[in-house]
Symmetry: C2
């Protein structure tokens, strides 16, 4: 029997407990496969006054883990930027392999951390930071390693996908759906990180490095959440043959420039991503050799996240020589040509509230024509007593064109407002 792989856990909350449980449950299976034990030696906690399994040493002092020469792998599941980043940095400097679920730290500090890891000859694994239990990073870095990735389009936030599913299938209002997600533990008491799109944006910036070797942060592209989305638009989208999902997109254009963005997006109901329901995540990848492929799985919850973390630990345990593979550590980030927001192109869904007056439709049509944005689909509905809703899906137009059109439409007499405007298609 080879010597055990010894683990120190930073954080013993929901996810930390999930990791402990999974290691315990699969102990025999892992010993058989690995020919060695994975031993959870100690865990950093906020306070010591709690019930614990006797085999794990609890401590409130991070140095008990970071400075313990017996510990091979530091698993960081505290969340938040600091002190997590500082602890990870110190662990690398001490020559420890690191496994983290921390999307914020990896998104913001990947370049510095990866360089440090290469310098100190250790690996940093972060499978759990994106897509919950779905082995996205590995699939892009190894399973599809032969491919030049052309695009990644994903549903990367389980909370918002759960909310959108309830709004779609049970016609729940936004606030009710959020409350239900909170009751079931899918949403935090303060859901703003999820519903604002920021969580998805962090994950997309990590995928940008994994898929495109691009070092971009959340300030390098625009992101929108679902907090402005209304039930009525989900209904109209359905009528037009679309589902609305919060979609992260990374795409390489023919000229090698890259486009990134996060926004609620109308997806044709026939597309596989449209049928990803509840707290599931999915990613749709196009590679130059493999063509289109999709991975789907649970994107939230302690058990799927623990699945990703423990799989990372196992990957390290297989590596009995402690030679870092550096598979996940791109340190020579390529120069990135980003497409500016205004030049991004898409079809658009717009909902206008207008006076129900003779000639209004022709008038509005004229405004679209004047901005050279053509209309692909249109629904007109009465909005009693004296108004109408016009729901339009345009053909392809840039964000700049869309914004000009939007302003022009809003300033027409008889137009109460352009009350919704979302991207269509992926």
């Amino acid at each position: 029997m080879k010597p055990p792989l010894t683990i120190g856990l930073l954080g013993l909350g929901n996810i930390g407990q999930g990791v402990k449980t999974l290691l315990d449950e699969n102990d025999a299976l892992l010993q058989r496969r690995l020919g060695r034990r994975i031993q959870l030696k100690s865990a950093l906690v906020r306070s010591l006054d709690r019930e614990v399994a006797s085999t794990v040493r609890l401590t409130t002092n991070p140095q008990d883990i970071l400075n313990d020469p017996e510990i091979d792998v530091v698993v960081e599941v505290m969340g938040g930027e600091e002190p997590a980043r500082a602890y990870i940095t110190q662990a690398i400097q001490q020559g420890k392999f690191v496994v983290t679920a921390n999307k914020e730290v990896i998104s913001k500090h990947k370049k510095a951390l990866f360089n440090l890891a290469i310098q100190h000859q250790v690996d940093v694994f972060y499978e759990a930071a994106v897509g919950g239990g779905i082995p996205l990073i590995r699939t892009l870095k190894i399973g599809l390693a032969a491919n030049r990735i052309e695009s990644v389009v994903g549903i990367l936030n389980g909370t918002t996908n759960y909310i959108l599913t309830k709004m779609t299938e049970e016609k729940m209002g936004y606030a009710d759906a959020v409350a239900q997600a909170q009751a079931l533990g899918f949403a935090e008491a303060d859901p703003s990180m999820d519903v604002s799109g920021l969580d998805t944006a962090y994950k997309l910036s990590i995928l940008a490095s994994v898929a495109f070797n691009a070092d971009v942060g959340v300030s390098d592209f625009s992101y929108q959440g679902i907090d402005q989305l209304e039930q009525v638009d989900i209904g109209y989208a359905h009528e037009l043959g679309y589902a609305i999902k919060l979609v992260a997109t990374g795409r390489r254009l023919a000229d090698d420039r890259l486009v990134f963005g996060v926004s609620p997006t109308l997806i044709a109901t026939t597309h596989p991503l449209a049928s990803v329901r509840n707290e599931y995540n999915a990613i749709y990848v196009v590679g130059n050799a493999v063509g289109e492929s999709m991975l789907m799985g649970r994107g939230a919850g302690s058990s799927p996240t623990a699945s990703a973390i423990v799989s990372d630990i196992i990957d390290i345990a297989f590596n009995t020589q402690r030679v870092p593979s550096a598979r996940n550590l791109d340190n020579g980030f390529g120069s990135v040509g980003l497409v500016p927001d205004a030049a991004k192109s898409s079809q658009w869904y717009m909902r206008l509230v207008v006076d129900d007056a003779a000639g209004m439709l022709a008038h509005i049509g004229g405004v679209f024509d004047a901005h050279q944005v053509s209309i692909a689909q249109l629904i007109q509905k009465e909005k009693p007593p004296h108004q109408a809703e016009l729901v339009v899906v345009t053909h392809e137009a840039t964000v700049a064109q869309r914004d000009q059109l939007h302003r022009a439409l809003a300033s027409q007499s008889g137009v109460t407002g352009v009350v919704a405007c979302w991207a269509v298609g992926i």
Copy 2:
């Protein structure tokens, strides 16, 4: 720059050419990521009278590759059992890492080859043998390594899925759909390996070892193909809310016994597998930590297969120490308790042709009752001039029950035949 990884290719047909093309196309990308070149040195061909790229040495003598001390990795893309098995064996004995797309060889000889590989301290990679470009093996072995796998249910043959898609969406007859698949290169001139279910069975037996550590061959479970499937049943299935797919199933029961099988299966149209179209493959995996997850991608064609092979090569190239990870080499296969065919349980779809006589429905219903198989759904259709078709979906029943019922129904006066009988649900 590290020394190059040198490759010898056994076979330079469709897939071999695909590997060469992909290595050429991604040369710069791979050098950047790996810090070393992947050099295709020589290829075994049937005869030398063909145009070739000048950088690859062609040979008709396998020993020029198997005995070449410069060659690190032997890539076998000849197909068929012999001499591929013999060449792979020799390559392992010479201390070379092996990458193969050969489902038949891995299915039949995995135990011997994996043991030999461990003995000679090399790795055998076979990602391309199952699921085309989808990194299934890696996902099960590494990405989901933390999980005890409960079930794998998959569409593993692109040819038959293409044929079934045409029969479903364009109401093509079986023969026409096969002809179209042949015309497009999705089916061989002799499609029997695919349509008989044997190809899927080989792949399932490989998944059995990857997911369940079980050494089973295609003679250890029953498999059926799509060659007995009629257009009319696809129509009735649709009416009842199902799509028909050729499904491979591996499942662990609560008592730890395993069930394997390949058969055309009615899948609820709401299930993600039901929407896998054309030559795509997909696998639906349930793990004890990750829950349900699905992978989908192209299951056939030289480019997706080359994607899997070259990804295997890259995995080896990352491993600059040439220490085998043995991640894919289960040599301590567990003892397997297989559920015998007769005890397998499922819902069943049956189509009967009966005389259109008074009391017939009650009579047939009585036969179901007598065999304690209850009816979940029923459609009765006229079959002019004097007959009727009864389409029944039963509740759960064992194969033994089904077979007894089948015989009893067929022997009733007024029953022309039980003309179709397929499993329902996954």
